[in-house]
């Protein structure tokens, strides 16, 4: 038996405030040092920030339930209820199986050539321009075109995909003036997705059409079609965009790292994981406890909304020595940026494939890359990434123009 305290420590730190989000890592460290579980005074959540505890909570999905939503606001959580993200097994397992038939690595193999070609032509076009924004001109374009094609969406309306997903992710944050300001976008995007979830809008043989097939053959209730389409569309957009943008920043800031990867592109995947560990695109989600649970000596009561902070876990010095340093040789494949276990990101294979395609094309076609303006953070309560990353490149010799 461990001794358990009746009350958790309380902190004034607001992990969803812009002040913290601009540079959250000191705040996360403070929270980790206060205790395994900390109640936030400013938000209706308790927060788990240490690697071992976050990992255990994610692995214990029966107690740390997603069924009542994974955001902060109960109003927004009610809207997501029953989606693959906001459900528990067995319903979650059924929804996930329909997604993973298409999106699991075993299903993705035959897409590799197509994604490589798209990435290469995107990189070729920005490199010929010489100067570009590595977020909006490059990182943001690959996931939109790849995923929209796979889902089978019509060309018109695709411009909604990225800002719409960004707004939907914002709805996982607190219901404050920032989120209220984005509710019209959330509503417009839900309407767009509702319209798209029909035979006339989804290309035959696409992932989107496969969802409608699952409805037709009785595996999926008709009410689940739009939310499942949404799960593909939301989860695969700005998470991937910012993972790629953040990685390009690390590569552009560190000449030795850039040269090492240019000399040995087999390290691209390892570097991507280290990038995800250090700058986790989804900083935190929440769970709700289905019973009282002891986390390393602190008891969380039943029915508590708990933030599981992936980004803090990934910088926990109890697990990763010198955690703030980008160390490609660390081999930190156990990071929690994709979550873990039951709700571990189903699309992580696709993200890795897009990364491999884009970064290898960049390393092949670019000799040298320099950041020309101080990068600016994309303001967002959940997603960590860059608004802009202005770069200038010197093309590699012999890659053709």
């Amino acid at each position: 038996m461990t001794m358990t305290s009746p009350h958790p420590p309380v902190s004034d730190i607001d992990i969803y405030s812009d002040a913290v989000l601009d540079d959250p890592y000191e705040a996360y460290r403070t929270l980790r040092d206060i205790g395994p579980v900390v109640q936030l005074a400013s938000q209706p959540v308790w927060v788990i920030t240490r690697y071992a505890d976050v990992r255990n909570a994610l692995a214990n999905a029966e107690v740390f339930s997603s069924g009542a939503g994974v955001g902060v606001s109960d109003d927004m959580n009610a809207l997501q209820a029953g989606s693959v993200l906001a459900s528990d097994d067995p319903q979650h397992a059924l929804l996930r199986s329909i997604l993973s038939e298409k999106v699991s690595p075993r299903a993705l193999g035959k897409l590799k050539t197509h994604i490589d070609e798209q990435a290469d032509s995107l990189v070729a076009s920005v490199v010929s321009a010489g100067r570009f924004d590595a977020v909006s001109d490059l990182a943001a374009r690959l996931p939109v075109s790849v995923v929209a094609d796979l889902i089978g969406l019509p060309a018109t309306g695709r411009e909604l995909l990225l800002p719409g997903a960004d707004a939907m992710f914002a709805s996982f944050g607190p219901m404050d003036e920032r989120l209220v300001g984005r509710l019209p976008e959330v509503m417009a995007y839900v309407q767009y997705m509702t319209e798209m979830a029909s035979r006339e809008n989804l290309a035959p043989g696409s992932w989107g059409a496969a969802i409608l097939d699952a409805v037709d053959d009785g595996r999926l209730g008709p009410e689940s079609a739009m939310p499942l389409l949404a799960a593909y569309l939301i989860a695969s957009m700005d998470t991937t965009v910012h993972a790629l943008g953040n990685y390009i920043r690390f590569l552009a800031e560190d000449r030795d790292l850039w040269n090492r990867l240019k000399a040995d592109p087999s390290l691209i995947g390892k570097g991507f994981e280290e990038n995800l560990r250090l700058e986790s695109p989804a900083q935190s989600f929440t769970r709700r406890t289905t019973r009282a649970v002891d986390v390393d000596g602190t008891v969380i009561p039943e029915g508590t909304r708990v933030a599981v902070c992936f980004a803090s876990a990934n910088r926990d010095e109890r697990h990763y020595p010198d955690p703030d340093r980008f160390d490609i040789d660390r081999g930190a494949f156990d990071h929690l940026a994709f979550g873990y276990a039951t709700h571990g990101c189903a699309g992580q294979g696709l993200a890795r494939m897009e990364n491999q395609a884009l970064i290898s094309a960049l390393l092949r076609r670019v000799e040298r890359i320099d950041i020309t303006e101080e990068p600016r953070r994309h303001p967002h309560p959940i997603i960590r990434g860059l608004e802009h990353l202005q770069v200038a490149v010197v093309p590699a010799r012999g890659t053709g123009r």
């Binding site: 699991s104 494949f333 156990d334 994709f338 276990a341």
Partner: protein
């Protein structure tokens, strides 16, 4: 004795186990995990555990069986 339990229902073929522990795990052409050893020899035990740890969907579990266990 150390034994690995692979949950084929959960496995989605992400292949991280194989990257970390290629002497223990293989993801075949159908994207399914295969165990290359029945019982894990002591020399591969650390590798087997590391490979199980990185499974993103927690499909791999190491079972340490002791002779005195029922």
């Amino acid at each position: 004795m150390t034994h690995i339990n692979a949950d084929h229902e959960r496995c989605e073929g992400h292949g991280l186990c194989e990257q970390i522990a290629p002497e223990v795990y293989r993801v075949n052409d159908d994207g399914e995990v295969e165990l290359l050893v029945d019982e894990v020899p002591d020399g591969l035990r650390a590798q087997a555990e590391a490979g199980a740890r990185v499974c993103p969907v927690a499909a791999l579990h190491i079972l340490a069986l002791h002779p005195n266990d029922p």
